[in-house]
């Protein structure tokens, strides 16, 4: 049997967490546990990079599939990757070490526990992206709540308890319906194995209700308007590393779920509910962009911008076109990098001034030039300037949308303008302007580890902005297959009446 590379990816962080847990702590060993975590997450990153290299992008099937009996005669532990999931795994393993590096400045107490929580969370996140069984997926999807709840609650800001509860209960409420749907699927088709389900298909008469049950879970997690309100709270109160993981990876679980399960398993229902998703996405894009314009708090602004960006993602997925879905995946990867970077940027100034209020800053360009440069790149990435990865994603999504519905696409394009407005205004208020506050003047420019982490994020954002080929290449076949297999094109044509 081949080396179980996916299981090792899943297990490695947990092993690291156990190692940190069992090594006796003393103050001097705080540092060493950080190096252990960094080593483990980096090892995981290189492992997933290796996975990406050996992954055959021209094959439609799932690769590196491992299957083991788990709940006898019922559920098998089954993992595997296709072109879509492999990117999310890479994103996860890339962002996690960056989070580990940032704990330097942000986490003052219980560092060991924090590292354990992050490592355990990484296990669950990778598990979500490579599980090929609905029950296994649900298990990982829900389990991620536990470490995230603790991360927000223990290391968060002033209203952390409220935010942690809101985060946990919202997500749990959304997910329980999905559990019912998963069990129902088992009784309807006799399996929860995703590959088999793709082949079998689910009877159209069940699809609508099942789709809604899955939707309730993913809509909360995405988050879509009107169930997005947990996100700003959770983001604002979470420590920097928590916000980064939340924005970069946890939100992507839902987008990934939409593609893998909503489109893959219920194509008829997906088509039926397209108008609903369009409307909710458009509201998310326009309304939350307007809300973002009004924010006084940096993290809140970025959180609302996340909701707007995820609106593009859901819009793109449900255009059900090659460009739309590819654009959504690209947008998710890009948003994963950009939002992570933006939260890190907020973390940098928050560590120095301990406030996130925008009007307390101003004129940083003269005292923190290095910071101003990287922040500029990320701002431009967030508003989707050509040459950054943000552009490719939004462009493809809009291209898919124009194919389907010009009105929807036009309204969504307005969102791009609004996005530019709030991001540039944010940048102007923080970086430019007069240097008035005394304490702002004392702020020092980026430290070495901050430069490393931020530039690590600048590189892929610019690289994929100019040369998106590696990513597109990886997802192309899988997306085309997804569209082919479910006859999404044909369904589309029927719906359009030609």
């Amino acid at each position: 049997m081949n080396f179980p590379i996916l299981s090792s990816l899943i297990l490695l962080p947990t092993i690291g967490a156990l190692f940190i847990f069992f090594v006796r702590s003393s103050n001097s060993q705080y540092q060493s546990s950080k190096y252990v975590a960094l080593f483990i997450t980096l090892a995981n990153f290189f492992l997933s990079l290796y996975l990406w290299i050996v992954f055959d992008k021209s094959i439609v099937d799932f690769q590196f599939v491992e299957e083991r009996e788990w709940i006898s005669g019922f559920v098998n532990y089954k993992v595997g990757v296709d072109g879509i999931s492999i990117l999310f795994i890479l994103l996860t393993t890339f962002i996690t070490p960056i989070c580990v590096i940032t704990v330097n400045a942000t986490i003052k107490n219980r560092l060991k526990d924090f590292l354990i929580a992050i490592l355990i969370l990484e296990t669950f996140m990778i598990g979500v992206f490579c599980s090929l069984d609905l029950v296994v997926f649900y298990l990982f999807f829900e389990a991620g709540l536990i470490p995230m709840f603790l991360i927000i609650g223990i290391w968060g800001g002033e209203r952390r308890v409220y935010s942690a509860f809101k985060f946990f209960l919202y997500t749990l409420l959304g997910s329980v319906l999905m559990l019912i749907a998963i069990i129902s699927i088992y009784w309807i088709t006799g399996t929860t194995d995703v590959i088999k389900l793709y082949e079998l298909g689910i009877d159209a008469k069940y699809q609508n209700l099942l789709w809604l049950a899955f939707f309730s879970s993913f809509a909360v997690k995405t988050p879509m308007w009107p169930v997005h309100t947990w996100l700003p709270d959770a983001h604002v109160e979470a420590p920097t590393a928590g916000s980064v993981l939340l924005a970069a990876i946890l939100l992507k679980m839902a987008g990934y779920g939409f593609i893998r399960f909503s489109l893959g398993l219920f194509p008829d229902a997906s088509l039926y509910f397209v108008p609903l998703v369009y409307i909710l996405s458009l509201i998310a894009i326009i309304y939350t962009s307007l809300v973002a314009l009004m924010q006084e708090d940096m993290k809140k602004l970025i959180a609302y911008s996340s909701v707007a960006h995820m609106g593009f993602v859901t819009l793109g997925i449900f255009t059900m076109t090659q460009q739309g879905i590819e654009g959504s995946i690209f947008q998710m990867i890009s948003h994963g990098l950009v939002s992570a970077a933006l939260f890190l940027c907020v973390g940098v100034v928050y560590d120095r001034l301990h406030t996130r209020l925008i009007n307390r800053y101003g004129g940083l360009v003269s005292i923190m030039p290095k910071y101003a440069i990287v922040f500029m790149v990320f701002t431009l990435g967030a508003l989707g300037l050509p040459g950054t990865s943000g552009f490719i994603g939004e462009f493809l999504v809009l291209m898919g949308a124009f194919k389907k519905n010009i009105l929807v696409a036009t309204i969504a394009s307005l969102g791009v303008i609004l996005g530019a407005a709030y991001m540039l205004w944010l940048y102007k208020r923080i970086i430019f302007g007069k240097l008035i506050n005394e304490d702002v003047k004392k702020m020092v420019d980026l430290k070495r580890f901050e430069i490393v982490t931020l530039w690590l994020l600048v590189l892929p954002i610019i690289f994929f902005g100019f040369y998106p080929e590696p990513l597109i290449n990886s997802i192309e076949v899988s997306v085309a297959n997804m569209i082919d297999m479910n006859d999404l094109d044909k369904i589309n044509k029927l719906a359009l009446g030609d």
Binding site: F74, F149, I183
Partner: protein, 471 residues
């Protein structure tokens, strides 16, 4: 005579009860010794049960006493829980000054009663076991007789339980009247048609049984008794009577009245939904941990009943799985409770847990695991317990029950999270003692380990339980 071989465990426990009673009276200051001997005799009884041929299926004493796979499994569960309860609470009863020779003997009596209940295949035998169990429990609840709350809880339990036993007995007499027999199998043969009297009989018996497992709306006693009794008795209350009562539920519903499923199914569904929802909502405002766990166990019994209400073998098996995992979780929770000790005083308010994680990281970690498991969050054992139940429920297309049940988990998650919040997010308080006896530590570690690693091999228990034949 060869019949007697099959009830050796019961005989052994009866003999030990009499022996220990005499031994305790004649030997001065022997309470600790009697306690240890009780634990040892439970272990011996466990060995005797395991030693019986697992394939055996026989009915003794004129078909009134069943030795089968269900009885075997439930008895093993019962005595194992008994042993762990004894191990974890030995220190507690010394410190709370309730270490008297009667205490372990009463526990043995009630375990004997439960064993009779589990094996009973006849209304009279079942009632006898029930009363033997209950009488011992009345005394145990008020064992700390100098404590007002304990006395009150004993009295309350006695009065309400006597009432429910009366109802139950009346139900038995109705069933006897309409079916001319008290034997379960015989009842099935004699009651092919539905008669109102019979339905009333079923309802009365269900009321009595629902009282014993504290299902809503017959739950009133549970919070007071859980809070008032000494913690060592509360843990006993929370674990063992539930096993026995659930077994009787299974036998009673699935042997004599299996054909009349549509008569009792609605009742069980109602009990189940009411318990799940009420248990979850009422626990939110609680300040005392024991009271909170009382409401939580009401809610958990609702899920176990949901499995029963399906009327399928799969449903029953899921209920048995549920109760097994429930036992482990509660055992772990109470072991944590026994560790909240400072200067020979035990603490049981939620606020006392404030900031526990700073001073006692390992204890808080086990509490964290237990509470998330009770809330049913994957990948902990509690999730699988609920998962099996819902698999069985949805298989029967009872979507309403499934949705209500899952929404109740979300409500329940709130109060479990609240405890976690107090442990992990709140400022720290004074330290608790960190020295505990070996039995308690072992119980906690073993049960937490079980909860935490259940997901690695979930088939183990399910495979054993799927061997159980109901009728």
């Amino acid at each position: 005579m060869e019949n007697l071989q099959l009830i050796i465990p019961e005989l052994f426990i009866s003999i030990m009860i009499m022996f220990l009673l005499i031994f305790g009276v004649f030997k001065k200051n022997s309470s600790q010794l009697v306690y240890n001997l009780t634990t040892v005799s439970l272990v011996a009884a466990l060995a005797l049960i395991i030693n019986l041929d697992p394939q055996i299926q026989s009915s003794l004493f004129n078909n009134s006493y069943n030795i089968d796979s269900l009885a075997r499994f439930m008895k093993i569960l019962l005595i194992l829980s008994g042993i762990f309860v004894m191990l974890s609470s030995s220190k507690y009863i010394q410190i709370s000054k309730i270490s008297k020779i009667e205490y372990p003997i009463l526990i043995l009596c009630s375990i004997l009663g439960m064993m009779v209940m589990i094996s009973s295949n006849d209304l009279i035998v079942f009632y006898m076991g029930l009363e033997l169990q209950s009488l011992a429990l009345y005394v145990l609840a008020s064992f700390n007789r100098d404590n007002l709350l304990s006395t009150e809880s004993g009295l309350k339990y006695f009065v309400l339980s006597a009432l429910s036993s009366g109802l139950l007995l009346y139900g038995c007499s109705l069933i006897y009247g309409f079916s001319e027999t008290t034997n379960f199998n015989q009842i099935m043969v004699n009651t092919k048609e539905i008669e109102y009297g019979l339905t009333f009989g079923i309802v009365f018996i269900l009321v009595g049984l629902a009282f014993k497992i504290s299902a809503v709306p017959f739950h009133m006693w549970a919070p007071d008794v859980y809070q008032g009794s000494p913690t060592s008795v509360t843990v006993f209350f929370a674990l063992l009577p539930k096993i026995a009562a659930l077994t009787v539920f299974i036998r009673f519903l699935y042997i004599p009245f299996y054909e009349l499923g549509d008569q009792w199914q609605m009742i069980i569904i109602f009990l189940s939904i009411a318990s799940m929802v009420f248990g979850a909502v009422a626990a939110i405002g609680q300040k005392n941990l024991k009271r909170l766990i009382a409401y939580s166990s009401i809610s958990h019994m609702g899920y176990a009943l949901a499995g029963l209400s399906t009327g399928t073998t799969q449903g029953v098996q899921s209920s048995i799985t549920y109760i097994t995992i429930y036992l482990v979780m509660n055992l772990a929770f109470f072991s944590c409770l026994f560790m909240l000790k400072r200067n020979n005083e035990y603490y049981e308010n939620i606020d006392d847990l404030s900031g526990l994680s700073k001073n006692h990281p390992l204890l808080s970690l086990s509490l964290l695991v237990v509470l998330f498991s009770l809330a049913g969050i994957p990948p902990l054992a509690g999730f699988f317990a609920k998962f099996y139940i819902f698999v069985a429920v949805i298989n029967e297309k009872m979507y309403f029950l499934a949705i209500v049940g899952l929404l109740a988990t979300v409500i329940a998650a709130f109060y479990y999270l609240r405890i976690i919040k107090i442990i992990y997010f709140d400022p720290e308080k004074e330290k608790f003692e960190s020295k505990h006896n070996l039995g308690l530590k072992f119980t906690l570690v073993a049960s937490t380990f079980f909860i935490l690693t259940y997901f690695i091999y979930p088939s183990g228990i399910v495979d054993i339980i799927s061997q159980i034949k109901i009728n």
